[in-house]
Amino acid sequence: MMQEGIAFTPQLAASGVTRILWLVPAVPMVAAGMIALMKQPRRKPAAALAIGSLAFSLLVALTAFAHVVTGWAHGQAVRETVNFTWMQVGTSGVDLGWVLDPLSAIMMVMVCFVGLLIFIYSVGYMAHDENFTRYFCFVALFAGAMLGVVISNSLLLLFMCWEIVGLTSYLLIGFWYQKPSAAAAAKKAFITTRVGDIFFLLGMVWLFAQTGTTLFYNHGGGSLEPLALVSLLTQHAGLGLTAAGAIGLLIFCGAAGKSGQVPLHVWLPDAMEGPTPVSALIHAATMVAAGVYLVARVYPLMSAGALTGGTTTALIVVTWVGSITAVFAALIAIGQNDIKRILAYSTVSQLGYMMAGLGLGGVAIGMFHLITHAFFKALLFMGAGSVIHGCHEEQDVRKMGGLKADMPLTFVTYAVGMLALCGVPIFFSGFWSKDAILESAHGWALSQVPYWLLVFGAVLTAFYMTRQVSYVFFGTWRGHKTAHESPAVMTIPLAILAFFAITLGILGTPAWPWFRAFLGNHAAGVEWHAFLEPSWLLLLLSSCVIVTLGIGAAWWLYGNKSPAAEEPDALEKAVPWVWAALRDRLYVDELYGVTVIAFYKWWARVSDWLDRRVWGGIVATVMWTFRGWAQLNRLMDMYWVDGTFDKGCEELATSGGLLARVQTGRVRTYLRILALAVVVLAAILIWSSRG
């Protein structure tokens, strides 16, 4: 139960559906491109393109899923890959490809289905927005990129799609970019995930350098296959880690950034600046789950060479980070007043659960909670969107109340989601998935602290969700205008999701552990007596206690009362300083502001000084040198060259003038000279001949 060794039989040749699997991410991306290139934004074609492309992807995904399920049912593991060389550099090259196995199949179906429902919901939610087509372009691109992450068989291709996912997240958070808070939130999201991505990149490069391939599965030559893993285990990377563990941890850093683990969680609550469907799709169901999915994907790497107590250092780190995140975020969620922010912190907390589940129990445990959480968190966000829509864009819970009468459909579906999230036993999927995690935590050999942290987190979850629901739906209406129910295009997806929030639990009960079996590639039979096992009964009891404790405490504090918005919160009255810390998000942002951002600002100033004074100074010196040289040349030319030349000419002119004096212009003078010359010549001749 600890390590789910996924033993797959040698891979078969790629089947037909695997060969066309690339269509699943490609079609939505192409749709996004087509929407982007539309000359005039037209709503119906844009929505139709996006929804149609994702529906098509869903069809292909379902076909692939059916293929995998039939394979599994017949006892044949399905892991089919299609690989191709992307870049050839001499003899080595970089390969890309996609893989169809149970993990990617189930994730694909979830992303397509939830995405499709949210797309349909968005048609109603964004109906009044003027940037309707831009929205659908971005979400379609996001869907394509997310599906690319899911089916990718190459860490490099995964990273490329990962980056596109991050880009679309940025674009969608900052969708209303005229709002400075939205633009700042988008920037924050991008930069924070970037910090994680740096380590991801390092891990990827290291893996490529060690194994010589970026592919996960390549008929025995992939980096997650036994041959490569053995070579990675033999390398030691310091700090008591093997190369496998170190690479795994580096990749986990990237996952931590995307999935909002502490300390990189700060961007997720601020990401609520985007439209609510965006929050539902990206920041609840899919993108944040990408980090969890990544860890599940490279799980063989992280779990390789299980040493201490049957687990590896990498997985220990994952467990602790997850557990701490679960509690940390749940605490902060208690002190928030914005309906979406409560849900955002709840998401962070649940992501912590998923990571802890991966670390404690393996791929199936973590992934099951991911799948159930996707449905009920999307449901909750969309419900919140419906509430916001109905309350005329009001988001403060203290200004709502009594909506169970005004918005019954929303109330019912929201209640289902809330109960699922709290983990109310038996009927709601959240119970089964969270229970599985608690069970593995309880059975963890190394320490029981994660178990108690997770239990405490569950109590807090029930507490803050009840607080939120009582503020929003119970009590009296504290807003201005009366609230109204949302249109059918928004409530029908809610209903569908509520249905799944209830029924998905069936896939993970101990009686029929289909999910675990499916991902672990072993048969699963229905065993009703599993319900009678003492360990499971104990778990059921503890869950009932947790839920009752949480809901009861919150109901006692908040219940049907509806304090006015200006009044202090009931908890605040009880423990004011605790309340203040929780409301201020446990000062993580402030800490970052003082340390990282302050350092960055200082560094920017230093660089500016360097640039202006030092490099600028050098350039200026060179310039002045040349100028001085030019001046020197000029002076030399002016005085020396010209001087000598001019002097020479002057002398010539003067001498010419002097010589010209001979030409007096007077005939008499000429005559005299003539006569004199003759006399002299004659005298010379005569006396020379004589003498």
Binding site: G665, R668, R672, A675
Partner: protein, 103 residues
């Protein structure tokens, strides 16, 4: 002093006088007069040598003198014509004022 020498001396004297006049007088016409005197002195020289020379019947000296007279006359005519022309432009015959060819 043979007659030849005497005539030659007279010619030399007249020549010198004519030269002195040409070199000292300011009036252009008087310069021309001096030049005429010089030419005449040369003619006297020629005739003197013809008369006391070896072959007077060859008439060489006489011819030379006659042609000299003709040429001198022509030259005097042209020269005086020039002086008149210049006088018309500058209204003076003073050579000191004719220095436009001054360099």
């Amino acid at each position: 002093m043979t007659p030849l020498v005497a005539h030659l001396l007279v010619a030399a004297l007249v020549f010198a006088i004519g030269l002195g006049g040409a070199l000292t007088r300011r009036n252009a016409i008087l310069v021309l007069i001096g030049i005429e005197l010089m030419l005449n002195a040369a003619n006297l020289n020629l005739i003197a040598f013809w008369r006391y020379g070896p072959h007077p019947e060859a008439l060489t000296g006489m011819m030379f003198a006659i042609f000299s007279i003709a040429v001198a006359a022509a030259e005097a005519a042209v020269g005086l014509g020039l002086v008149i022309h210049i006088y018309r432009h500058t209204h003076t015959t003073d050579l000191d004022e004719m220095n436009r060819m001054k360099g």
